[in-house]
Symmetry: C2
Subunit: 355 residues, 2 copies
């Protein structure tokens, strides 16, 4: 039985990427050594670091004046690195969910935090539209896709101050106008790589402006200066990102990824809206293409567990929704083929026919 | 031709560990999904996290009252996390090389740092023996093995204050009396795993005593409370550590690793001392079993490059010494078989015969 992995992250990656990474763990580039045991100072590895810099910048369209670095620690570590590097007095945050709140919490250790808007009262089912960003804020922080609630911004905001975006769960799923951002970052374990590597795209001229002393490893300049190799980088996770970027380019780049995402979303949301058993949880115009959240209609609430089991029996893995929303979440990251979305729809139809 | 990887790190791992990790990247536990794409909240992964905790504690002999956690960011990130969590007023550091110095540098951002002794004037060729640790220091920090200079402590010091050790490059190479330490940490990419995961063994009662507020991700308690899964952990690197711990246990544990290390060291240092072309660089009683550093005797200095090429031609990979010592460094981590040490000796003998 063909399995489709709808897990929210770590999550589906292209088969070719997993195969290439697995192969390199036995023999890297045919050099007779595993990728797991090679020095990060070796020429063979430096080639990968040089190429991934080009691939990442090309694929996302990173303009001059920005650096791309790869770190460990996950996006959660960035939640404190961002204020460490940028917050002198005041920062603005848009509260669109748990991850935005976590980012805000860390910033409060470093200065004043202004919450410009929040959808907390509606359990984050929408992304606030009407808000003002204080012109004297050091930066404005947003979370572009909210995995738990299934909402997504899907456009590049205008901001009067440097815009910093956590794009952990929708990076490389659509074209982004990087020039509108001061920084973009994310854990790579959804659309880009295996878990264990964080990407950071940062506008160089914004760095070095805070008055505090920054521990070496928490200072973005350290990693920019050393090409992400100030210390030993997470070699194998970076390699999987490298392979995935090559895969994205082979498919046609972020434009192709955006088309795939829209096609999957149309198929699955279409069925959610049609099927009398289910309903979506997020505000329609804010629906995420990455994490499609839905629940049983009230009169069928009792069938929730049955549907999960039925779907799992048909090869649909990782459909359980986050506990704070309940129901189901079909995460459809870059590597999810349209066949996966269609297979899920078939399962939803079959289940409807049974009830 | 059989290759032996003498690289200083990321470095040799057992073939079985690399094979098992590679296999899991295609199909993990026969579940039809790759280790690279599974949720860290899945039952299959939780089993690994539960087992690695037991395996690590059993193998190293971690007593009650200590926690073991796995983080990202490398030992370099610990250089600031240690003072963040433990330095209230004053900390003592033993300066045995570049890594010790880097650790000291970060601590200075948080309080007073006392360098109890240093071998910097002798290019770190020995480990200082006569020093006094201030009784009012919050902790005493040491680096048990100095990869660049080939010196190693290889015994558990008595300290009047909590002893904190960076064991990045000799963890699991000998039995350690963990009860003598307040904390042991290290990057895993030498004796334990692929690059991308850091291990921390910490005495619980020492935590929570500093008055400063600690960012969530830099607070050891965060990771202890959540079993290293406060955020997405580096899944595949942790899995390689899990496989390696099982391998160490199959070989007979750290006692067997210590025997292997002593045997290798005897063979290689024996040849260095015998061979008229070479000489060791480290003080004899401080010689590292992990990183065997040697240079050409003065009258053969010109042959350095020749020897490196000759050895590489015979399958000896990664022998070039660090630029600050020069010459050669044969790193002999846990996975290096005695055959590797013997093969290197043969190459040294052949080269001597030619000159």
């Amino acid at each position: 039985m063909k399995k489709y992995n709808f897990g929210a992250g770590p999550s589906i990656l292209p088969q070719e990427v997993m195969k290439a990474t697995s192969d390199a763990c036995v023999d890297f580039n045919g050099i007779g050594l595993s990728l797991m045991e090679i020095s990060h100072r070796s020429k063979d590895w430096q080639v990968i670091m040089d190429e991934i810099d080009v691939l990442f910048k090309e694929t996302l369209g990173v303009p001059e004046g920005y650096s791309v670095i790869f770190l460990g620690g996950g996006a959660s570590l960035e939640f404190c690195m961002v204020p460490y590097n940028f917050l002198e007095k005041k920062a603005a945050y848009l509260n669109t969910g748990v991850w935005a709140k976590k980012a805000m919490k860390e910033a409060k250790l470093f200065g004043e935090v202004v919450e410009v808007a929040s959808s907390a009262d509606a359990n984050y089912t929408f992304i606030p539209k009407d808000f003002e960003v204080p012109a004297d804020a050091d930066y404005f922080h947003i979370t572009t896709n909210n995995t738990i609630y299934g909402t997504e911004l899907r456009k590049d905001l205008d901001s009067p101050v440097p815009l910093i975006a956590d794009m952990s769960s929708d990076i490389f799923s659509r074209p982004v106008d990087v020039s509108k951002y001061g920084m973009i970052y994310g854990g790579a374990q959804k659309n880009l790589a295996m878990a264990g590597v964080t990407f950071v795209v940062v506008k160089n001229e914004l760095l070095g402006k805070v008055s505090r002393q920054i521990p070496t490893m928490l200072d973005y300049r350290t990693h920019i200066d050393k090409g992400s190799m100030f210390n030993t980088p997470p070699v194998v996770p970076i390699y999987s990102a490298y392979q995935n970027l090559k895969w994205i380019q082979r498919q046609g780049g972020v434009e192709a990824m955006a088309k795939r995402a829209a096609d999957r979303a149309e198929v699955v949301y279409g069925e959610i809206d049609r099927n009398r058993l289910f309903k979506g949880t997020a505000n329609e115009e804010d629906r995420s293409y990455m994490n499609i959240c839905f629940v049983m209609n009230d009169e069928y609430k009792d069938l929730e567990k049955d549907f999960l089991e039925f779907a799992l029996g048909k090869g649909m893995v990782g459909l359980k929704g986050h506990r704070s929303v309940g129901g189901f979440r079909a995460s459809c990251y870059n590597a999810m083929p349209i066949e996966g979305a269609k297979a899920l729809v078939e399962v939803m139809k079959e289940f409807e026919a049974k009830h």
